[in-house]
Symmetry: none
Subunit: 241 residues, 2 copies
């Protein structure tokens, strides 16, 4: 039995060496699909290969995207690997719970990792259904990028030998791109209605809206239905029959 492999998404990675180390960490546990969002030093990067210690196939197949949204457009379940964030109200899971959810999902899944120095931006974290945090020593938390990747890849790999068919979901969760379409439509309509004010709160409000709609687990059919509802709501009122 095979369990769908999560995509590893490195958001704005800085050093090619760290991209190579992440590839090596992935392949140790059978993960092969790496996506890079706006790598700082471009791609390909000559420092990545030597650090990959032979995991060249991961680097050769790596895909580059301009935005995080584009990198996860075909993924229905997205985790953000980061420390706990006080600025976002989101579910926080440990690596084991993440692995369990990935194994139980029928669609594609992705795990986001931020730049080495600063970690994921709020806007990137808000794209995910949940934060995944490795519980570490509160007095010494010093996980580098490749270490975070290897721990999550290891935890995922522990599920792969469990010959359990993916949990049957009534309907598959819609790919992320469809949810983006819904959120974009809603945003346009809310802008037209002057909903976002004051301007200083606009980004926070947008993040909240994204979280609210990302957590729904709606299927493609349900996303379409909600888009129809939004269209109906903004229509001028019709006379009753």
């Amino acid at each position: 039995m095979s369990v769908a492999k999560p995509v590893i998404v490195l958001v704005r990675p800085q050093l090619g060496q760290n991209i190579g180390k992440a590839a090596r960490a992935m392949l140790n546990f059978g993960l092969t699909e790496m996506r890079l969002v706006a790598p700082r030093d471009g791609w390909p990067n000559p420092d990545a290969g030597p650090a990959a210690s032979g995991a060249d196939i991961v680097l050769e197949q790596a895909q580059v995207f301009e935005t995080t949204e584009a990198a996860i457009a075909d993924c229905s379940m997205v985790f953000a690997s980061t420390v706990r964030r006080r600025d976002l109200v989101m579910p926080v899971v440990d690596p084991e719970a993440m692995a369990e959810r990935i194994a139980g999902s029928s669609g594609r899944s992705a795990i986001l990792f931020g730049p080495e120095r600063s970690g994921l931006e709020t806007e990137d974290v808000a794209l995910a259904q949940a934060i995944v945090t490795v519980p570490i020593n509160p007095d010494f938390g010093s996980l580098n990028l490749a270490q975070a990747v290897i721990l999550l890849a290891y935890e995922w790999s522990k599920r792969t030998e469990l010959a359990q068919p993916p949990a049957k979901e009534l309907e598959e969760v819609a790919p992320h791109g469809e949810l983006d379409g819904l959120i974009g439509q809603l945003d346009d309509e809310l802008v037209a209605k002057g909903y976002f004010h004051p301007p200083s709160r606009t980004q926070a409000t947008r993040n909240t809206i994204r979280t609210i709609f990302t957590k729904t687990g709606w299927s493609s059919r349900e996303v379409k239905a909600v888009r129809g509802i939004i269209r109906a709501l903004v229509d001028p009122a019709r006379p009753r029959d």
Copy 2:
């Protein structure tokens, strides 16, 4: 609850840098006791500190022994971290089973790691009760010393207080009555817009809407936000500022 911490024993480690990285890996998961058996380049080693990224306490307290036997003399349970060995008939456990045995043991425990290039000698492995092997990709096994240490330290830490599941920042799901309020408001607005037609489909459409909004898992705060969004959508468009 506290669980006895295993001692990490590096047998004939070669590079100071790798000793430092192992210390960093340990401290991330709360392990502080490192023992070094005949380090190739002596001890202390100036390359260790910079690689430890602040885990200096582990290096400062590291003890040096001439033989593996001496390093584990006070330990009642010893694991040898290595790939499976055909030359020895010994139990082989995975990291999870190792952690379970350590947690269930009343005496001190130790985990042995071999030199970077060659791994543990048969004589060292034979000192252990069991071999611990991280199950890795059979086509690409490339774990370095610090990676092996971090995976075993992580698995051990899951049994300790570090591993209490992260406090769920997930807000409580709103009481059903609040969701009913939202669905009622939406229904009123959709009726006003003439959304439900033909009449023969009205009940089925209402059921669909109820399912869509019931599955969201929204909190009270989120239900309120969505009600505000609905109000904004049905408002007449305001002139842009």
